[in-house]
């Protein structure tokens, strides 16, 4: 009886941790998986695989940097999928990661790609959370490529206002990245 109660308590704790740490990251996982597989159906399968692995391992997770933890799981799941598709890699496991790296682009390894995609997704999330007047300026300058003067003319404010909103918007994004454990790196 006591054993059953302990099991139920453990299960409830695992569920709460999964809801708290894993479910909010599903969109980031899918985005990264898209980049690794370049195919929506494969990306969906990969994320499902990673979600299952995360659920099984949630009791061992210490709660720090859930995104980094989940992206590691995702990357490992991708390595296994590539191994299954290309069984010759099983004969030489030391080179597996190098071979998997061939599936990424621009000479970046799969690991670097995963980290970059996590970074991009967090930037997007922070951008979406910006107040409208900040987001508007970021869209004009960073996405549409307008100059400060063009942006100022478009919404009828002084150039100084554009600069200050832009600076504050980027600072907020940077702070959110740092809070997510994605602060500046020595090399990129």
């Amino acid at each position: 009886m006591a054993e059953q109660e302990t099991e139920e308590r453990d299960e409830a704790a695992a569920k709460a941790r999964f809801d708290e740490y894993v479910l909010p990251e599903v969109d980031v996982m899918y985005r990264v998986a898209m980049s690794l597989t370049r195919n929506s159906a494969d990306a969906e399968d990969l994320v499902q695989d990673a979600l299952l692995r995360a659920y099984r391992a949630i009791h061992r997770f210490d709660g720090r940097y859930p995104r980094a933890w989940l992206l590691t799981i995702l990357r490992n799941a991708q390595v296994n999928r590539v191994r299954r598709k290309r069984p010759e890699l099983l004969r030489d496991p030391d080179t597996t990661m190098e071979r998997v790296a061939d599936t990424s682009d621009g000479g970046r390894t799969a690991e670097e790609l995963v980290v970059d995609m996590g970074f991009d997704a967090e930037v997007e999330k922070a951008f979406e959370g910006l107040p409208d007047k900040f987001r508007e300026v970021v869209v004009m300058v960073d996405i549409d490529g307008l100059s400060y003067q063009e942006a100022a003319d478009r919404i009828g404010v002084p150039v100084g206002t554009i600069m200050s909103r832009l600076h504050r918007a980027r600072k907020r994004i940077k702070k959110q990245l740092e809070a997510a454990g994605l602060g500046p790196r020595e090399s990129s």
């Binding site: 569920k15 999964f18 979600l51 970074f119 970021v138 400060y148 500046p184 790196r185």
Partner: protein, 90 residues
């Protein structure tokens, strides 16, 4: 945009971190005067902290300019979320 310097620093060829911090965003956006940009670039090369600060803002700018991966299915995220909720019996 022009670099504004305190009069006692105007003859100093090197910028300090505070001066660079005031114009870093304009520098990264290509809005700084041509004459001032090399001074900022030189400081960023020499100063590790400002160099890192600049690199992280550059990455943010690059990330903002990137669209969602081609071929992504927006409904897949909802399906995956339901799949995750199903694992915990929600």
């Amino acid at each position: 945009m022009r670099l504004k310097r305190r009069f006692w620093r105007r003859n100093n060829a090197e910028l300090n971190c505070k001066e660079v911090g005031q114009v870093l965003q304009a520098y990264l956006d290509g809005e700084l005067e041509d004459a001032d940009a090399p001074l900022v670039a030189a400081h960023l090369e020499d100063c590790r902290l400002c160099g890192l600060e600049s690199a992280s803002y550059e990455r943010i700018k690059a990330a903002l300019a990137q669209p969602m991966p081609e071929g992504a299915d927006p409904e897949a995220i909802d399906r995956l979320r339901s799949f995750g909720q199903g694992l915990t019996g929600d």
